[in-house]
């Protein structure tokens, strides 16, 4: 995983680089948009972390320019700007996610992982939440190294939830991920898959919980009391 970080504050950049390094990401830091653009043209990055308020230009314009050049590298905007329309403007320009300063490394890492989906055929990603692992290459879930037997739908559901760990995922998105467009989705089908997944994860001793957000969707997070619980 190679990440590009465009951030003008050296201290913030160093802390992010160190924090994400501990999480297994390699990170190249650039202090100006010019340098970042140059690097992006010559090296293939998996993800761009972009501060909007750079000394040599506007980050939103940078995002637009990157997208115009047919570069589809995911862009995560990291900014101090939280104006009412800033988020929408950033996402409309072509950014994939928007994170407002200040933040903690686990949250940034989780967002990076969610964005690091790779097209099939490429080397897979290993997603980890507490003692639960998901290998997208092998299409397999493991708890403490031991494989868990899951159906394709349960695997699809788990992967989707693990990529958005700690965040509520709407039912509609999950249904889209778990069922192909052609198949009929009965109102309780998703609940049934979730409930089977919960039972299998519990049976295998996974230290994660699938929470129900009533009326909205589901959220996977490390179980309360586990060492991975976010502060």
């Amino acid at each position: 995983m190679r990440l590009l970080l465009a951030e003008d504050n050296a201290r913030v950049a160093a802390l992010i680089a160190e924090g994400l390094g501990d999480e297994g990401f390699a990170l190249d830091w650039f202090g100006t948009l010019g340098d970042a653009r140059h690097a992006l043209e010559t090296i293939r990055y998996d993800l761009v972390l972009l501060d909007l308020g750079m000394p040599d230009g506007d980050g939103v314009a940078f995002v637009r320019a990157v997208r115009r050049s047919q570069n589809v590298t995911p862009i995560l905007v990291i900014t101090a700007r939280s104006g009412l329309d800033d988020r929408v403007t950033g996402l409309d320009a072509g950014a994939d996610d928007y994170l407002i300063k200040p933040f903690e490394i686990p949250e940034l890492a989780a967002r990076c992982r969610a964005l690091l989906r790779r097209p099939g055929g490429c080397l897979g990603t290993i997603l980890t939440v507490a003692n639960l692992e998901f290998s997208s290459a092998e299409h397999e879930a493991r708890v403490a190294g031991h494989p868990v037997r899951l159906s394709p739908r349960e695997l699809a559901l788990l992967e989707y939830l693990m990529r958005r760990v700690g965040r509520v995922v709407a039912k509609a998105s999950l249904e889209e991920a778990v069922y192909s467009l052609a198949s009929e989705v009965t109102p309780n089908a998703l609940e049934a898959v979730v409930s089977r997944l919960r039972r299998k994860l519990a049976d295998s001793g996974a230290a994660v919980t699938v929470h129900t957000a009533y009326g909205i969707g589901y959220m996977l997070s490390p179980a309360a009391g586990s060492a991975y619980e976010p502060a």
Partner: protein, 452 residues
Amino acid sequence: MTEPRRSHWRQTLFFKLSLRLAAVAGLFMMIQVALVVWMYVGSPAELDQLLISAEANRIANAIAARPPGPVPALSNDLLPPVAPRTRRAFVVHDRGGRVIAQHDDRGLAADGAAPASFLVVNTQRETWGDHFLLTGTRRVTIAGKQLWITMAIAGTGFRPFVPIIFNEIRFHVLLPIVLLSILFLLLNFSIVRSTLKPLNTAIAAIDRIDPAAISTRITAPLKSWEVEALIGAVNRLLTRVERLILTLRDFVGNAAHELRTPLAIMMLGIGKLPHDDNRTRLLHDVQGMKRLVDQMLDMAQANALVIEAGAQADLTRIAADVVADLMPLAIARGRTIVFVDEGAEVIHGHAEAIGRALRNVIENGLAHTPPGTAVEVTCGPGRRYAVRDHGPGIPESQRANVVKRFQRLDRRNNDGAGLGLAITLTVMEDHGGRLDIADSPGGGALVCLIFL
């Protein structure tokens, strides 16, 4: 609002203008008097005539007042002379040349002969040293009969003429000028009042300015250069005040914004510390500061909210997004959020702002609902949200206070700045909506956001 204009009428422009105009009238009168005095002093012949005429009039009046009958001599005490310290003698003839009254005064006698011509009306003066002797004849008409009064007046100096001058002033200067002044002041009263009317209208217009609507400007109610100048000045002042307020708002926004980078450094730095109680406490403190900064920015943005024409806000979708966003926080704190969709509408509004308004209410609920309970968020029916928690509720006496800025029910709790519900209220007001606080049936607070 106080009305100092009424209580201090002496301070009114109206009073001052009237007073000054009255003073000008008074001055004018004095100048006139001085002018008259100067004029008479400069022409003694005129004074002589006036003195003779005045004396003749008095004698005539005395004769007219006398009962008809034989002609007794007029006694001295009955007819003191007009002029002080003079001697005066007279003879009154009728048309036939008969003497009908005669009066001598200490050796001064008027010429007893009837006037050579009854048409003669004359005045003569003889002067030797300080002394003067005036003689003259006047024709008067009493009860239809014509009489001739011939008199002599002897005296010294100027003093005898003072009453004459005074009389002249009284009848020919004071009376007309007093009448004119009264008329002048009355006119002045209405003229000044109608002239000042645009000013009063402007004052009323300035009073009506809503302090919250800082972009308001006033317009001149009537054409008047001074009032337009005043209104122009007030409008320029309003512009400066607006700029100041906007600068202040910007400053709050910018300051909060600039705080985010150092906060990020602190938070990331604390994240590197070994896991222990200190780290947890520090992290908690920094999160409190983060929330404070967030709320200050939200408040600044809510104050400056502009809802674009045609902006659409899907209340259901906004609520679902906010609940999804807050769920991890709720779960981390051992609470949960239940979302109930009762069919809310799509309204004209700023979706992001409404989302932040709702978020503050839910965060408030999460802060007060006990562990293991849920905050229930109901969207709809129609154009409303209802957020219910299972905490102690908000006492009725405190409900007006909790929506004020920097107000917290529990001062020991230092989560946030106490701006949450104030932000919500501001956003609701921006949308022409309202925020209702009530007790929910089973206990706990029930906060409703109702859009118009």
